[in-house]
């Protein structure tokens, strides 16, 4: 939870970063110690759907740096890359979240970071990678694999921004295969997989091999 003192410290950091965006790499790791740490929604402790206190503070600082008028597109890209590559899990998550808010980011640079995060096995990174930036800029193959990875590691589909707008028959096929594999193994199928199978799509294509309304395999919620 943020206290007035923590809010004041964040305001101070915003002023500093707006004047000297090049100080951000030094400040970035210390943000949680200065401003606070913890879920903003107690039901979402890992910040899969919501920004945790420290994520929000770091995103605010990145937005301040980007909006300072002191960084051109290349410098902003270099800053984001540095903060991501030199960051721990928390810092990387914040950079990914910031991509969703910054319009001035070169999509090629953002894509590289998002694709790196999607190669990880950390649900907190994967959830952060599938936000608004990914919805707009990630290529179809990478985006579909990102969604499938969410199903695999238990990131809720709700973490995938605008997923319903990007569902296509290839994602439905992949999800149907995933579902069939789970069922063959006698494992439960996440409800989110069924949501994808049932979603309307612009390119209906061939029907998936599995019936999305199949009544079995609901014995346990995951």
């Amino acid at each position: 939870m943020t206290t007035p003192a923590a809010a004041a410290r964040l305001a101070e950091l915003v002023t500093r970063v707006t004047e000297h965006p090049n100080q951000l790499p030094t400040l970035f790791p210390a943000v949680a110690r200065l401003v606070g740490r913890g879920p903003t929604d107690p039901a979402d402790r890992d910040g899969l759907l919501t920004l945790r206190v420290e994520d929000d503070a770091r995103v605010t600082l990145l937005a301040a740096a980007a909006g300072s008028g002191r960084l051109d597109t290349n410098q902003l890209a270099a800053l984001l890359t540095e903060l991501y590559e030199e960051g721990d899990g928390d810092e990387r998550r914040a950079v990914l979240r910031a991509l969703d808010r910054l319009d001035a980011v070169d999509p090629r640079v953002g894509r590289r970071l998002v694709e790196d995060a999607l190669r990880s096995n950390d649900p907190r990174l994967i959830a952060a990678a599938m936000g608004r930036f990914a919805a707009r800029h990630l290529g179809a193959d990478a985006w579909r694999h990102g969604v499938l990875k969410c199903l695999f590691v238990g990131v809720p589909l709700a973490a995938v921004t605008d997923w319903a707008d990007r569902v296509d028959s290839e994602l439905v096929r992949m999800t149907a295969d995933f579902t069939a594999e789970r069922e063959a193994a006698g494992r439960t199928v996440p409800e989110d997989a069924r949501r994808i199978l049932a979603a309307p799509r612009p390119d209906p294509g061939p029907e998936p091999s599995e019936d999305p309304e199949h009544p079995q395999a609901r014995e346990g919620e995951r």
């Binding site: 790791p29 890992d46 721990d88």
Partner: protein, 287 residues
């Protein structure tokens, strides 16, 4: 029993170990950066290792309800390889991170000049970053190695309370007690130090500044030696509060000096918060 294992190399351990540790009461660990058994040949290997310590390993531990911290340094063995000198330049950015709770392991392996140079640089980095130091004492020539380590610590100007001298035994504990540094004991399944001898040391020297760890790694070692030491203490007549002090409050107090512990307030501040049934932490991740 709640346990903070202040020295354990989880990168080398399996998820079964994490589960067994959680079941034994381990809720937090510190993983000091060390060598991997197989010598590294480039600075890049260290970068990836450090990234793993603050990234993947922290996540892996959290899945089992264990808060993972680490220390970073160029370890004494590899301090002797000139190809790795650049590791020292990598350290400052890791030393700024949350969860990096000390500089270490540093100290002596074979008591070479290169080891001493790196050790002194580490002491300087600790002062600069306001961090404690974890000092590894050599397995060979331990008395002399400990003596020289304490000399360098004294010369560094760091307060002795910011320094933990580790892998001690009956022969080396006295000089560290006198110097005012924290005293670390690694309890192994072989002859180096066992839990019953540990209990005797505690009876003789008291519980102040006493730290017990498993130092488990890729070698023959046992990640539950902390628990076994706690049991041996109880068997020898120590109380539960004494055990809590040695296995939880002492390591928390030492590493809290970094300001970088990731324990939540309940864990860090209230000595009884997880005492009754460990309910506070069950299934949760620290914030």
């Amino acid at each position: 029993m709640r346990i903070f294992d202040p020295h354990i190399h989880m990168t080398s351990r399996t998820t079964d170990d994490y589960q067994a540790m959680y079941d034994a009461g381990v809720r937090a660990v510190t993983e000091p950066a060390f060598w991997l058994g197989q010598p590294r040949t480039s600075v890049g290997s260290f970068r990836d290792y450090f990234d793993g310590l603050v990234g993947w390993e922290r996540f892996r531990a959290a899945q089992f309800g264990i808060t993972h911290h680490c220390t970073v340094a160029l370890n004494p063995k590899e301090a002797n390889d000139p190809r790795l000198a650049g590791v020292l330049d990598l350290l400052p950015r890791y030393l700024a991170k949350d969860g990096v709770v000390a500089v270490g392991e540093t100290g002596f392996d074979a008591m070479t000049e290169a080891e001493e140079t790196v050790f002194v640089r580490h002491l300087g980095l600790a002062a600069e970053h306001g961090l404690p130091v974890l000092v590894h004492t050599p397995h060979r020539d331990k008395v002399e190695g400990t003596r020289r380590s304490l000399e360098l610590v004294a010369g560094s100007g760091l307060p002795p309370g910011m320094v933990l001298i580790d892998h001690l035994n009956e022969v080396t504990v006295g000089q560290v007690a006198e110097a005012g540094c924290w005293m670390g004991f690694s309890i192994y399944p072989d002859t180096k130090m066992d839990e019953h001898r540990m209990v005797k040391v505690l009876s003789e020297y008291g519980l102040d500044r006493m730290i017990v760890n498993s130092a488990a790694d890729w070698g023959r070692s046992d990640p539950l030696k902390t628990l076994k030491t706690g049991r041996a203490m109880l068997d020898a007549g120590f109380g539960e509060d004494d055990v809590d002090r040695v296995l939880w409050r002492n390591p928390v107090e030492f590493y809290a000096q970094s300001g970088r512990l990731l324990l939540d307030d309940a864990q860090a501040a209230d000595p009884t918060a997880t005492w009754e049934g460990n309910s506070v932490l069950r299934g949760q991740r620290p914030v």
